[in-house]
């Protein structure tokens, strides 16, 4: 019986070697590699169609969250693993442009896209989708307490909403950072800290990440926490309906869409400089801006397509409220001031 370990080791080494073998299979067909963050999702059928039509294999590399993935692309820019990079948003756009990560590409499909989304005049980064970071509220709570739902940032510092809001730390969470920027867009660089001071006085809860805020603190989610308002996404109420335990007619949550209460995030795609297959990369970028892909976006990634020719699914039309006046800031200003804002925020809200 004491020989037990040896066969075990043999088995392990066989597995070791077999696990290595597929690694050395070289790809016979042409392939294109797309680097993206791990919130990226797409329908299987759509990718299959693209592969058949162009006779290529599409490989997706996902490099963690949006920040990590961008870091990877920057660190490997001389020798990129991928052809196409998708997932840089307006808050990091300037960094990507300054690092000269992308090749400019005037896609013919850009003509279909509204000018408001085309933030990068050089067309190094092309807009694909947009979404809003908004405050979600628990409808049941406000109904049960006969409380009006606040409609502005100013209302959140009223005593009746004391202790009812949970936000994420902008230093460790991207919705947290987006919400901080909404307050900067609204109150200006001179007024936002005063506002946050007042929010703190009014008992705003701060957690590190979206997962904790939504599932542990927010009363409208399955976590059933203490706060009926959370910084989340404008599309979250639709997700609550689509991913309900039992079919729902009405979303249990809603979004507060007053002036500047939501921050608009636009996500971009770019062709990596030194990409192994720049021509295929152009084909793939066109594909991302075309109607079939754009129509796939809402239910896969819970954001809106930038191409107005794409039809929205009914769940989106019914359950997602879009703000008339979303907050935004110039990408260059964000790049220059991001760290200063976060550090000042930490001093006022956490210390």
């Amino acid at each position: 019986m004491r020989m037990n370990l040896i066969p075990l080791l043999v088995v392990i080494f066989t597995l070791l070697t077999t696990a290595c073998t597929p690694a050395f299979k070289s790809a016979e067909t042409q392939s294109i590699t797309v680097m993206t963050h791990d919130s990226f999702a797409i329908s299987e059928a759509l990718v299959a169609d693209f592969e058949v039509e162009h006779g290529v294999k599409v490989i997706f590399v996902r490099g963690g969250d949006a920040g990590t993935t961008l870091n990877q692309a920057i660190l490997t820019k001389e020798n990129p693993v991928a052809d196409v990079f998708y997932g840089v948003d307006n808050t990091f756009l300037t960094r990507a442009i300054e690092e000269t990560l992308f090749l400019a590409y005037d896609s013919p499909l850009l003509a279909q896209i509204p000018a408001a989304f085309k933030i990068d005049p050089g067309n190094f980064a092309l807009p694909v989708d947009y979404g809003d970071v908004c405050i979600n509220y628990d409808k049941a709570y406000f109904a049960a307490h006969n409380l009006p739902v606040p409609t502005s940032l100013e209302a959140l510092i009223e005593p009746q909403y004391a202790g009812l809001l949970v936000v994420e730390n902008p230093a460790t969470s991207s919705p947290g950072l987006a919400f901080l920027m909404a307050t900067i867009a609204h109150f200006g660089e001179t007024g936002y800290l005063e506002y946050w001071h007042a929010l703190r006085e009014n008992g705003v809860a701060v957690v590190s990440d979206w997962e904790t805020a939504y599932y542990t603190n927010f009363s409208g989610s399955s976590g059933r926490g203490p706060q009926p308002m959370v910084v989340s996404y404008g599309s979250s109420p639709a997700a609550e309906v689509l991913f309900a335990e039992t079919p729902l007619v009405e979303a249990p949550t809603g979004s507060i869409i007053g002036p500047n209460t939501c921050f608009r995030q636009i996500e971009f795609v770019g062709i990596l400089k030194n990409a192994p297959n720049p021509d295929l990369a152009k084909t793939f970028v066109d594909f991302m801006l075309s109607v079939p892909f754009q129509e796939d976006i809402p239910l896969q990634m819970f954001v809106f397509p930038v191409n107005p020719q794409a039809n929205l699914p009914p769940a989106f039309l019914e359950h997602v409220d879009t703000p008339d006046q979303p907050a935004s800031l110039p990408p260059e200003l964000i790049e220059a001031r991001r760290e200063t804002w976060i550090n000042a925020w930490i001093e006022v809200v956490l210390d």
């Binding site: 696990a19 299987e44 990877q72 693993v81 599932y215 976590g223 991913f243």
Partner: protein
């Protein structure tokens, strides 16, 4: 030819020469897969750039996370020892029904991703957790009485939750294997049980206790998810600062400096540990007969036993159980009435796991994720055991080489997953080693984290093998291989199996490096869990908990299988 063989033999017989040969493979492995990527990242990130100067650094930015890191790690380690040592005593001396099962349960916390542990603690102690709900209905309270999340105690308790198993396993293993004759001798000579314990038992246990303390401290020192998710934004360790700087501020120079600081601390801690534990002095003792666990006898013994078991249960098992229970329960709010929640049992979350509702390309069937996790874990076990044993034997004698190599080997424990992951991406982006086409990079990263652990687990056992036994076997004409198989291996087996369990759990639960290195076509269980919990919707939440329960089951099965080997071993001898 014969001359080469003779030289080789002379080398292998000389401790220094043998040390060099044994170190060769581990050193190449560490150099290639750990130091190369790390140095590549640092040299790239710390390239002089306009606008960043080392001297312009605000040292408060370094000092605050640093002092907090040390403080919380010290407190957490002390608490873990207070809970773990009585537990180790209990597992060594006593048998009780369900002991093996309970021991497996106490190992499970180690594998769970922090997102899930946060959910587990939330289901147990959160505002709507079982405990608070019970207290509210019992005493008619208006608000949940226990405030657990986002407190300093949450960090401490979660660290105890994660790391107690290290103390339990490492110390009780050494305790059961210790030489009873010395204790008997002391008793015969009239020493009181207390004196026997402090003067005979404790010195024998010292290396194991120190090794466990060291490992627990390092784990707490580099803690990331627990501090971020359970502690909340008021608290930041060095590792959390590295994450913030690298990912949200894209400030790689500062992230690198923090990483270097963290690595230096790991180095100092390792050197300190080596100094107090006296790495290298051999405790040569006759073969241990070991302690056979017995049933608790007297009433007092039973009470003590019950108290310790209850404490372990509440701290280690209850959060897991709450989590698993929650994956079978649906909580439907009654329309418009806050607070009243209807409960019902459901298997819906498990059924949904196998349905790709949206036709998502990245959909992961749970069986596939479990298979991948298991395969990667097996490779990790193979790699770490092979390298770990080599290192263990190389360290048998105190040489200059060992003194230098030991900290070199321990450093990966202090490397941040983010730093290592980014380093991997820079270095390994071309064939033959490319993160893209070489799925084995993931278990290699896991092996880097697990190796220091395995070496520290094997070292006490290797030290306890008496050279006279090997000499006896050799005199009787046994070949070196046979000596190893018939003398070393049986004595090492318990420690090898524990090492295998640690390697398995580290690999199964690792999430940080996995997010960088995992390929979308080989997703692991923790990666799949994260995909669900990062999206809103009751179904997603339920599925994340269901997937976590599957992770626990798969890992428990692995631990069971490994322990089964040990059991049949005992029966066989």
């Amino acid at each position: 030819m014969t001359a080469t063989i003779r030289t080789l033999r002379r080398w292998t017989n000389h401790p220094v020469g043998r040390g060099l040969l044994l170190w060769l493979l581990p050193a190449v492995f560490l150099g290639y897969f750990f130091y190369q990527p790390l140095l590549a990242l640092f040299s790239l990130a710390l390239k002089p750039t306009p606008g960043f100067s080392l001297f312009a650094l605000n040292f408060n930015r370094l000092w605050r996370p640093f002092s907090f890191t040390i403080g919380q790690a010290t407190l957490s380690t002390l608490l873990t020892l207070i809970i773990g040592l009585p537990g180790a005593w209990l597992f060594t001396y006593f048998d009780f029904p369900g002991k093996r099962f309970f021991k497996t349960l106490t190992t499970l916390p180690f594998i769970l991703p922090t997102v899930v542990v946060a959910a587990g603690f939330n289901a147990f102690l959160g505002p709507r957790g079982w405990v608070n709900l019970a207290l509210i209905s019992q005493f008619n309270l208006a608000a949940p009485p226990i405030q657990f999340l986002n407190t300093f105690s949450a960090i401490l308790i979660a660290h105890v939750f994660y790391n107690t198993t290290i103390v339990l396993r490492v110390v009780s293993n050494a305790w059961s294997g210790q030489n009873l004759r010395l204790q008997h001798a002391a008793q015969v000579l009239g020493a009181s049980p207390w004196r026997t314990f402090t003067e005979v038992t404790l010195p024998q246990l010292k290396p194991a206790i120190l090794a466990a303390t060291f490992l627990v401290f390092l784990f707490n020192f580099t803690s990331f998810g627990v501090v971020l998710m359970l502690g909340g934004p008021q608290f930041a360790t060095l590792e959390v600062e590295i994450y913030t700087q690298a990912l949200y501020l894209l400030n790689l120079p500062l992230a690198s400096i923090l990483s270097i600081l963290q690595l230096l601390c790991t180095l100092l801690i390792t050197l300190g540990h080596n100094r107090v534990s006296g790495l290298g002095d051999l405790v040569s003792s006759p073969p241990a007969r070991g302690i056979t666990p017995r049933k608790p006898g007297k009433a007092l013994e039973r009470v003590v036993l019950f108290v310790i078991l209850a404490a372990l249960f509440v701290l280690l098992v209850a959060p897991l159980a709450s989590l698993a229970a929650r994956s079978f329960v649906k909580l439907e709010p009654t329309r418009g009435e806050r607070g009243t929640i209807e409960r019902g049992l459901t298997l819906q979350f498990y059924r949904e796991l196998t349905v790709n509702r949206r036709g998502d390309l990245f959909f992961v069937p749970p069986i596939m994720a479990a298979r991948n996790s298991f395969l990667f874990a097996l490779i990790t076990i193979g790699l770490t055991l092979t390298l770990g044993l080599m290192v263990g034997y190389a360290q048998q004698h105190t040489t200059i080489l060992n003194k230098i190599m030991d900290p070199v080997l321990m450093l990966p424990l202090g490397a941040s997953a983010i730093t290592l992951g980014l380093g991997f991406i820079i270095v390994f982006n071309r064939p033959p080693f490319s993160t893209l086409r070489f799925p084995i990079l993931l278990p290699i990263a896991h092996a880097l984290v697990a190796l220091p652990f395995i070496v520290r687990t094997l070292a006490p056992a290797l030290k306890n093998i008496s050279p006279s036994l090997r000499n006896a076997a050799r005199v009787l004409g046994a070949s070196p291989l046979r000596v190893w198989r018939e003398v070393d291996l049986p004595l090492l087996t318990p420690s090898i199996l524990i090492s295998a369990i640690f390697a398995l759990t580290i690999s199964m639960g690792e999430f940080g490096a996995s997010t960088f290195l995992v390929r979308p076509d080989y997703p692991t269980l923790p990666v799949a869990i994260f995909r669900y919990i990062s999206q809103p919707g009751a179904l997603n939440y339920g599925q994340a908990l269901a997937m976590s329960t599957i992770l626990m089951l798969v890992c428990a099965a692995g631990i069971f299988a490994i322990e089964k080997l040990q059991k049949s071993e005992k029966d066989g001898v």
